[in-house]
């Protein structure tokens, strides 16, 4: 067959001629996404425009944007509070996790440091252990009366801390638990990217008279700027939708001070008088805000360019 002459093949591959086989390969994934994402999503949007709830379980009907209007003016907790708490949770978490992970990676990336393999294995622990369980462990550790942390602080004469008892501290406690769960991931990612910076660049920065952190600032940060932005933004999206940590630790209490959009959505759909329409509306609002954030961030970081 003439088709198989080396020159033709080379040309064929390089030119990436259109080939319908490509669709065959992506068809299964598209089918699964249609079945499990698009169909439920379309119904979710529809439900958010109805009064589908326990009170109207079999006779729900289209009511237009009434759910959204109600959420926008009048529901308690107010939407602004929920959105603020969601930002508090996701921004607070991501800033803390990302910077802690980066600093730790810097510390471990010093030339000639011994024992990095040992440290790295230890730091794997929080990431390697299922979060579903470690969150429950932290819940016990931070209990006000019986928790070990307060007992331990008591030895040094430090008064017991209301980790999850006060609105002012409970969100911070959630973020701290999340830091423990997630810093290994960021440390690993940043370690990998710091290692991709050639060692000679550091050395020449040293020769120019920069100290350890000076050379990081001069050499590593400019090179890794885009990677850091990328990891941080995806971490932000992930934290925004992170369900288990706030759900298992406080599920909104005290009051509504630790509800974020996703846990509040779950609460609306699963309390003893479930309102699935409202839950869908809250989920849609969460998605819309998320997409707006991604669009804005993309203007500045061009993170979507990973696609090409």
């Amino acid at each position: 067959m003439m088709l198989n002459s080396p020159a033709r093949i080379k040309e064929n591959v390089r030119s990436r001629k259109w080939d319908w086989h490509g669709y065959l390969f992506i068809l299964p994934v598209l089918a699964v996404l249609a079945f499990l994402d698009f169909y439920p999503l379309a119904f979710g949007i529809y439900y958010s425009l109805t009064d589908f709830s326990l009170a109207h379980i079999f006779n729900y009907k289209y009511i237009g944007a009434r759910n959204y209007l109600f959420i926008l003016n009048g529901n308690i907790p107010p939407l602004a509070v929920l959105v603020w708490q969601t930002f508090e949770w996701s921004l607070g978490s991501i800033i803390l996790m990302s910077s802690f992970g980066f600093l730790l990676a810097l510390l471990m990336n010093q030339p000639g440091l011994r024992g990095t393999r040992f440290y790295r294995t230890i730091y794997l622990f929080p990431w390697a252990y299922p979060a579903f369980i470690t969150v429950l462990i932290w819940k016990g550790l931070l209990d006000y009366n019986l928790g070990f942390i307060n007992k331990f602080l008591g030895i040094f004469g430090i008064a017991k801390i209301y980790w999850f008892g006060l609105p002012s501290t409970s969100m911070l406690s959630l973020i701290l638990v999340n830091l423990w769960l997630s810093f290994p991931y960021y440390t690993f990612v940043y370690t990998a990217s710091l290692q991709s910076v050639p060692r000679e660049l550091y050395d020449s920065a040293r020769m120019d008279g920069y100290g350890t952190f000076g050379s990081v600032r001069k050499v590593a940060l400019p090179l890794l700027k885009r990677q850091i932005a990328f990891v941080t933004i995806f971490g932000f999206i992930f934290t925004w939708n992170n369900f288990y940590v706030p759900f298992l630790l406080t599920n909104g209490s005290p009051g509504t001070s630790t509800f974020i959009l996703i846990t509040y959505t779950y609460y609306e759909a699963t309390n003893s008088l479930p309102n699935w329409a409202m839950a869908s509306a809250y989920a849609m609002i969460s998605v819309l805000i998320m997409l707006a954030v991604v669009a804005v961030v993309n203007r500045f970081t061009k993170m979507m360019s990973v696609i090409y």
Binding site: L54, H56, F70, T256
Partner: protein, 477 residues
């Protein structure tokens, strides 16, 4: 690359890939459609078989091991008696009223479900539960205490059969308080005396901001208040209910017998079990825990009355029971509903309730079992305290709007506790009222016409809600 391996010409292989791919897609699509068709038809097939063999599904939410033992024994007795009925039991975490509702959306709810009377009331209002008045006459219901039957009656319909009854009373530590207080003032004084014993002692710890108002509800009647009026409208910001909040708030604010910032009910229990607090407001389900900690020093009495007004605090006196889902919720046919009713009767009969009392300490809903217990006082030495409390109890509201009280109370009480410099008990009660109304609106209640599937209680609320909405919201915003 290895040249010896793949020398064969490519087109045939290409065609093979194509054929396989098309075959896979066709098979997947066809089997999907086939499956859907098969099962959409099958639900009709199974229901049309005769009444000779019946299968019913049951969700059992028995909490403790003792309750499960009693359930299993009664189940065995039922299966021995009705050999043509097969019972499929589901237990555990997935058993809850929200899962019941989710399953009902696709007509897959269980035939028989066990829950508290208030959750069941919401399910009945939603049109998911059989009105048992058509199956069980007064000759059956008259065997039960009036209170428990009231708990399971909404708009004249009996929507379930009670299996037990419960509420809270006042536990006290006889080592610190030798005699039960007979008036509210004496209770406060006893608590003050215990607090005065020194560091670590606290007379009456109550984690107001960390709880959901179940136990708190006892105080509204002591000041002449109520949760909902007879039309089902929330009364939480009435002057009576505000007085109740003022009173409890003073425990920490004025009397010093409580402290601000307890993070959960287990913090209260830690005081009581360590012998550091005089009183504990709690139900019979924790009695064995306290007995273990305090031994013979543990006693229980009715929450004392106000000697000036003569009014009694009245705890919510609720009930767990069994309900039968209608065909809309579970797809049940007439014989399945009949079998379910027989099952419910069997699970609430004399032997079951005696077994529940002996194994799990559950108080009975049958008058005859109450008599039996009084005749056998050895099983529970504290039973007289509970009987005394039952004389001063309020009906556990079973209208759907009750479901919003819990979160509302939690939000208001937390706000009061955390921001006490700027928030007064009056503000907190206004907030609780506003939250309930907000939730009722969010669930489209005020927008519905009177033909809503919810009962007339809500229909009236619609009118009131429309009238008061503007004034209420002006306060919140």
């Amino acid at each position: 690359m290895d040249t010896t391996q793949g020398g064969s010409p490519t087109p045939p292989k290409n065609r093979l890939t194509l054929i396989i791919a098309i075959a896979v897609v066709v098979v997947v699509v066809a089997s999907g459609i086939g499956l859907a068709l098969y099962y959409s038809g099958s639900s009709h097939k199974t229901t049309s078989t005769g009444a000779s063999k019946v299968t019913i599904t049951v969700w059992d939410s028995s909490a403790s091991g003792g309750e499960s033992t009693a359930f299993n024994n009664s189940l065995a007795a039922f299966e021995a008696k009705y050999t043509n009925v097969t019972v499929v039991v589901t237990r555990g975490v997935a058993v809850g009223s929200s899962n019941f509702a989710t399953d009902a959306t696709s007509h897959k709810a269980p035939n028989v479900y066990r829950d508290s009377s208030d959750n069941a009331g919401a399910l009945y209002s939603a049109g998911l539960v059989v009105n048992l008045s058509n199956y069980l006459g007064t000759s059956f219901t008259s065997n039960f205490t009036t209170g428990t039957i009231n708990d399971w009656t909404l708009n004249g319909a009996l929507y379930g059969v009670p299996v037990n009854t419960n509420g809270i009373a006042l536990y006290y530590n006889k080592n610190l308080v030798p005699n039960a207080p007979t008036t509210i003032n004496q209770m406060i004084q006893d608590a003050k005396n215990v607090t005065a014993m020194g560091k670590g002692y606290l007379g009456l710890p109550y984690a107001i901001g960390a709880t959901w108002g179940y136990r708190f509800a006892a105080w509204y009647p002591a000041f002449g208040g109520e949760l909902f009026n007879s039309s089902g409208y929330p009364m939480l910001n009435s002057s009576h209910d505000i007085s109740a909040m003022n009173f409890v708030w003073n425990w920490s604010k004025t009397y010093g017998i409580n402290t601000v910032g307890l993070s959960s009910m287990s913090d209260e229990q830690a005081y009581f079990e360590a012998g550091k607090s005089a009183f504990m407001l709690d139900g019979p389900w924790d009695q064995s825990t306290y007995q273990k900690a305090l031994g013979n020093n543990l006693s229980v009495c009715a929450i004392p009355y106000d000697s000036q007004t003569g009014k009694w605090p009245m705890p919510l006196w609720g009930s767990i029971g069994y309900m039968v889902s209608n065909s809309a919720a579970s797809g049940a046919n007439a014989s399945q509903i009949w079998a379910s009713v027989q099952f419910v009767k069997s699970m609430t009969n004399f032997l079951t309730q005696v077994s529940l009392f002996q194994n799990a300490g559950d108080f009975p809903s049958l008058t005859s079992v109450g008599t039996y217990i009084s005749a056998h006082p050895g099983v529970d030495p504290l039973v007289s305290g509970w009987v005394a409390q039952e004389q001063h109890a309020q009906k556990f509201p079973n209208i759907p709007q009750m479901a919003y009280y819990w979160s509302a109370f939690h939000i208001g009480a937390t706000n009061l506790e955390q921001n006490s410099s700027s928030v007064t008990p009056t503000d907190a009660m206004n907030q609780i009222e506003a939250y309930i109304i907000s939730e009722l609106k969010a669930n489209n209640v005020p927008y519905e016409s009177a033909q809503s599937s919810f009962g007339p209680g809500i229909a009236q609320l619609v009118l009131i809600g429309e009238l008061t909405e503007s004034t209420t919201f002006a306060r919140v915003v």
